[in-house]
Symmetry: C2
Subunit: 100 residues, 2 copies
Amino acid sequence: MILEVAVLDVKPNQEKEFEATFGEAQKIISNMQGYVSHQLHKCIEKKNRYILLVNWQTLENHTVGFRESEQYKEWRALLHHFYEPFPEVEHYTSVYSNAL
Amino acid sequence: MILEVAVLDVKPNQEKEFEATFGEAQKIISNMQGYVSHQLHKCIEKKNRYILLVNWQTLENHTVGFRESEQYKEWRALLHHFYEPFPEVEHYTSVYSNAL
């Protein structure tokens, strides 16, 4: 399993709109092949910062299956205009886990 | 519940030693008051990068309870010399979760 990590800096004063829009947009990823689970968290220290964590079965489920899909175009149209700067996305494999 | 997030850049060629040491050090946080769970993940795109995710019951369980403890001195002695640069640690609250 692969963990996608994206730190999302949202344009000032657009946090509420971003959260509402993400609430709709998350249905898109949840229905993609290879999707396992996701979490969106809001930063305490920087009020317009979020972190998105998505578990995928394989790296390609995200980088190819999702990013080259029609659904990604909808995801992008809904969410990308909120971000400044545009986020760097990284992928991780588990080393140790005593997870919830 | 609070999510602690730390992106850890380990000095080149010390990844194996860091992982072995972390395997011991993780027992320290697991026994702290307010600790809930943790995960250590290794980055695919940057081979000496890791991300540590720790769930705490409250922010103060980490920032006061752990960081001002005797156990933190042991944690720091075991792990901090691996990091360059020294990591920025942030705390997050959940907005949406469809977690494992």
